[in-house]
Amino acid sequence: MSMRDDDRERGLQDLAEARRAGTGPESETPAERAEVAAYGLVFDALAEDPGDFLPLDFAERVVERAFAPRLGFAWWENVVVPIFMLVLTASSLPVIARPLAEVWEMMRPLLEGVPLGLLAAAGAAVLLAGMADRVAGGTAEVRR
């Protein structure tokens, strides 16, 4: 479609809009009148309310949801306490290192043949999964 055609269409739309407002002049040709009338129909249809799809208790449901308590990220539980435990453990290591070493020496003959590396990896995986679950759960939001 050319620029000229677009200009003509724009003119017809302006004319239809003016006619709806009661200010537009009469169209000159029957073809033009038909097109302006078609635009008038389009404008009428666009202004018609398509109907409400929301349920009657929509406002109530929204208010309930908006005012529901929001669970933010539990910083104390997920960050502060674990860091405190880590620091406590690290600071107590010099004190408990010697007894631990003695226990280790006593246990060593019993642990021969046990895949310690595999057990450590499994333990680390469980620990990480648990932490990820806490973080994801801690940021969950109450909905409805």
């Binding site: 009338a37 078609a38 129909l41 009428d44 249809a45 799809f53 406002a59």
Partner: protein, 195 residues
């Protein structure tokens, strides 16, 4: 309805009733915007709820630079577009080749103030046809015609809601109306000739 400032003050003070009034006052507007953009009936109400929850959370950032209705419509528009993007639906797809045939003397006849009962029925059918065709328009054009024709916003307000220049709004309006008129004429032109 209460002036915007008073109702906003009451909502910010934590009054549930005030927020309920806001929802009731603007749910039609939000339903129109969301309803024209989100096609899946199952998702529409969810998106409408999201709009008002966002309104509630962000109301303290509303500084009356626009009307409250414009601000709410903008949130409804943005969340609807986010929804479409999440569903990977195109926002500004082309409509393909358009029909060029047909002249509807019937349209001209039923646009006159003196309608026969048969003409009334024909007019209602044609309007229903146009409304159905709106659903086939690209989302941005649907949004523009909804805000302008249904919500009776000015081109400037529509531009504010959509976050685009006024000329872009005019272009969306022009293309949408032209497409609808051509489809109307292509479908009812022949019937009109034989009438």
């Amino acid at each position: 309805m209460e002036p915007d400032r008073e109702i906003v003050r009451r909502v910010l003070a934590g009054e549930r009733d005030a927020f309920r009034d806001v929802v009731r006052a603007y749910q039609r507007l939000v339903a129109h915007v969301v309803g024209r953009l989100v096609r899946d009936p199952g998702d529409r109400e969810e998106v409408c709820q999201d709009v008002f929850v966002r309104v509630h959370r962000k109301l303290d950032t509303f500084h009356f630079e626009s009307k409250l209705s414009t601000w709410i419509a903008r949130i409804a528009y943005r969340l609807s577009l986010n929804h479409l993007e999440k569903k990977r639906l195109p926002l500004a797809d082309d409509l393909g080749p358009e029909d060029e045939e047909g002249m509807p003397p019937a349209a001209e006849r039923i646009a006159s103030p003196d309608l026969s009962p048969a003409d009334e029925v024909a007019a209602a059918q044609m309007r229903a046809f146009v409304r159905a065709q709106v659903d086939a328009l690209p989302p941005l054009q649907r949004a523009a015609v909804t805000l302008y024709h249904l919500e009776e916003m000015s081109v400037g307000e529509v531009a504010e809601v959509m976050g685009v220049p006024e000329n872009t709004v005019k272009s969306h309006l022009f293309r949408a109306r032209k497409t609808l008129k051509e489809r109307l004429m292509a479908t009812y032109g022949e019937e009109a000739r034989t009438a």
